[in-house]
Symmetry: C2
Subunit: 368 residues, 2 copies
DNA sequence: TTTCTTGTGGAAAACGATTTCGATTTCTTT
DNA sequence: AAAGAAATCGAAATCGTTTTCCACAAGAAA
C-alpha cells in the first residue's frame, strides 16, 4: 500500500526529463530556462534579431532566420510572457466573472467565451464572485491592474459596472441587470418574448388557467419573463389571476412547493409555466407525487433549455436561452473593444425560441 | 429602435468616469494610469519606498507609510501585474486544463479548484483541449512559458504528461489515465471500488442477472468500473455473462441503445449498472419507451452522481464521484508544489460511495 | 565625546522581452 | 565607378516593479 504513495520529488524529475536540454545548456553556461539573450548569444546574433524572428518580422535574412529558429527549437525556448506583457502593454488574458461555478446554467456561456478567445489566441481567467459583495470588491481591485486586457461580467451589480467604467478597461456585460439608460456594451436575451411565447403557446393549446412560477426573483430576466406571461394573457383577453402567480426563487424546491400549493387551489390550473427549467423539475416531482401525469393532466413549460430537459420524463417543452451565443457574441464584442474598434451595436439582445417537446397538450375537456 | 443601440465610445466613458483622478493626475503631469514612479514623485519619496509600502515591509516609518498610502488611495493606484510577475518570477496564475467545457461532469472539479485558488489569492486560467491533440500541442507550448505558476490537467494524455515533466513547472494530474508506474502527482477516484460496490448492492438485493453498460471507453476509469463489476460477480460466485456486458461510450444515446438490446435478449437482466449517469438516463428512456417501470421491473444504478440524478423519475441510485474534492485536493497539492514543498502523498485516491435512492428494488419473483 | 547599533530611505541593477533608430552591407542605377 | 536605394542587423532605451546594498541620521552604550 505504502509503496504506491511514492514521494514525488520535483527537482529529480526535472533533472531527469530535461537532460537533453540541460547538456546543451551547460555548454553555454545556461542555468535554467533559456532567455532571448542566451539564444542570441548561442546563435551569434543580437537580441533584437531573435525577437524579430520570434515575431515574424520581415527584416531578417533567410539564413539568419533559419539559424535562429533552429537554435530556438533545439533549446526548447519559449518566451517569457510576463516580460512580453510588460513591454507590449497587453497580457493576452481576458477575465470572465461568473456569479457561481456550480450552476450549470452558466456552462455554455463559459464555453462560448472560451471558444472565441481560443480562436483569437487569448486565454481565459475565470473568477467566481459567489454573489458576495466582498468578493466583488476583491476582484474589482485585482482585475483592474492591467493583468487582463478586458473583462466579461455575467450578472454584474451596479457597483461592479461603475468600477469597470472607471477602470477604463474594455468590458462587456452579460445578462446586464441595469436600467435601460445604461450605455455600457452588453448582451442579453429576449426574456420578455420568451415569457410571451411560452404563454401564448399554452393559450393556443386551449389552456385558460395558466400558472406562472418564479415571482420572487428581483433579477431583470425574471421580471421580464413574468411580464411576458402577463402580456400574453392580456393579449388573449384573459384577466390576470394573482392566485396563479406563484413565488419561486428559481430553485427546484420552489417549483415543487409552488406546484403543491397550486394543486390545493379550488380551481387548479391546467398548465404551469415555470420561470426556469429547475423549477420545472420541481413541478414534475410534485405532480408525480400527487399522481398527475404530464401532459395529460397538466401541461408544463420551462425556460432556459438546460441539457437535462431532454431526458426528463416526458421531455420538457421549454424556451431556449441561447447561452452559447451569449458567450460567443460577448467575447467577440470584447475582442473588438480590445482591438480599439468601435462597436456599431453595443447593446445586443439575442432571441429566445420555443423548443417543443412532450410536456404539453390541450387541456382535458371540462377540467374533469 | 435604433436609438437604443447607442454607440459606445470607450474613450469618452474613460474621460467621464475617471474625471476626479484625471484632474489630480493633470496637476502632476500624468497621462494615463499612474505608476509607482509617479506615486513616488508625488509623495516626495523614492520608488523603492513606495514598493516597500506596497509590500508591507518593515523599514518604512509610520508617517512616510501613511503619506504614501494616502497618495496611493487618492490616485487609485494599482500596480502593474506584468511588471511584478517579471521581476518576481511568479504570475499568480494557475492553469486548469479540461477536455471539454460543455460537460457538466467537470463543473464541480472546476469549482473545487476555483475555491482553493481563490482562498490562496491566485487566479485561474481555464483552457479546454477538446480532446484534440493539436489543441494539446498548442497549450503545451503556450502554457510552459512561465505565464502560470502551475498547471492542473484533467484526463491528461501521455504526451501531455511528458511535456509537463519536461517543462519543470509544478503540476498535478486529475483522473490520470497513466499506468501504475507513473510517479507524477495525481488525484483519482476509486472507480474500481465504485463498480464493485454498485454491483454488490444489486447482488444483495437478490439480483442474479446484472447488466453493465459502458464497455467501449478505453479510459482508465471506465476500465476500472467494469473490473469492479466483474470482481463483484466473481466474489458472489456468479459466472461472467458476456451477453450482459454492453458497449457504451458513456453518452445518453449509448445507454438507450444498449438497453434496447438487453431487452431483446431471451433472458433479459433484472438490473442494469450503467457506467455513468448519462447512460443511466438513456436506460430510463428506453425502459419508459418499452413500458417497463423502475425499479419494479428493472433496477438501475448509475455512476458519478450528477445533479440531475436527484430529479430523475424515480431518483437514481448511483455511485458518488467526489468531484469537488477532486478539484480541491488537486489544487491544494499544486499550491504546495508551487510553494516549493514536497508532497508526502503525491498520488491521492479519493473514495466513492453509494448514494441510495429509489431506482433499485429486489427482483420480481421468478422473473415474471 | 566617541563608537555602535538601529532604523529609514534611496541609487542602481535586475527581470526578459520589444521597439526605435541609426549603422552597415548589398544591390541597382546612371 | 560613383551615388542612391534597399535590405539587414544591432546598441540602447523602455515597460513598471522588486531587490540588494549602501548611506545617513538618530539614539544607545561606552
Amino acid at each position: 500500500m505504502i509503496a504506491q504513495w511514492l514521494c514525488y520529488n520535483r527537482s529529480e524529475t526535472f533533472r531527469g526529463e530535461q537532460a537533453q536540454h540541460k547538456s546543451m545548456a551547460r555548454r553555454h553556461n545556461i542555468d535554467g530556462r533559456p532567455t532571448i539573450a542566451q539564444i542570441a548569444r548561442i546563435a551569434g546574433v543580437s537580441v533584437p534579431t531573435v525577437s524579430k524572428v520570434l515575431n515574424g518580422r520581415a527584416d531578417v535574412s533567410l539564413p539568419t532566420r533559419e539559424k535562429v529558429e533552429r537554435i530556438i527549437e533545439e533549446y526548447g525556448f519559449v518566451r517569457n510572457r510576463a516580460a512580453r506583457a510588460l513591454r507590449k502593454g497587453k497580457t493576452g488574458l481576458v477575465d470572465l466573472l461568473l456569479p457561481r461555478l456550480d450552476d450549470e446554467y452558466y456552462l455554455p456561456i463559459l464555453e462560448g467565451v472560451a471558444q472565441v478567445l481560443r480562436e483569437a489566441g487569448l486565454r481565459l481567467v475565470l473568477t467566481a464572485t459567489d454573489y458576495k459583495p466582498e468578493e466583488e470588491v476583491r476582484w474589482i481591485t485585482t482585475v483592474t491592474d492591467h493583468s487582463t486586457d478586458g473583462i466579461l461580467v455575467v450578472l454584474p451589480s451596479e457597483r461592479a459596472i461603475e468600477q469597470l467604467e472607471r477602470s477604463g478597461l474594455p468590458f462587456v456585460l452579460i445578462h446586464n441587470q441595469g436600467g435601460l439608460q445604461a450605455t455600457a456594451p452588453s448582451v442579453r436575451i429576449t426574456s420578455w418574448e420568451g415569457g410571451f411565447v411560452a404563454t401564448t403557446y399554452l393559450l393556443r393549446l386551449g389552456h385558460q388557467r395558466i400558472a406562472y412560477i418564479g415571482k420572487t426573483s428581483p433579477a431583470r430576466d425574471a421580471i421580464e419573463r413574468i411580464a411576458g406571461y402577463r402580456a400574453a394573457l392580456d393579449a388573449a383577453g384573459l384577466p390576470l389571476m394573482p392566485e396563479l402567480e406563484c413565488d419561486g426563487d428559481f430553485t427546484e424546491a420552489s417549483g415543487y412547493q409552488a406546484t403543491l400549493r397550486l394543486l390545493e387551489l379550488p380551481e387548479p390550473p391546467t398548465a404551469i409555466f415555470a420561470g426556469n427549467d429547475r423549477q420545472a423539475a420541481g413541478v414534475y416531482r410534485a405532480l408525480h407525487e400527487r399522481g398527475l401525469v404530464v401532459p395529460e393532466q397538466m401541461s408544463v413549460v420551462g425556460f432556459d433549455n438546460l441539457p437535462y430537459t431532454e431526458i426528463m420524463n416526458p421531455p420538457l417543452t421549454t424556451i431556449h436561452a441561447p447561452r452559447l451565443e451569449l458567450g460567443r457574441t460577448a467575447a467577440t464584442m470584447l475582442l473588438r473593444l480590445i482591438n480599439g474598434e468601435q462597436l456599431e451595436m453595443p447593446r445586443v439582445v439575442l432571441p429566445t425560441h420555443l423548443v417543443e417537446r412532450q410536456s404539453c397538450s390541450p387541456p382535458r375537456q371540462q377540467q374533469e
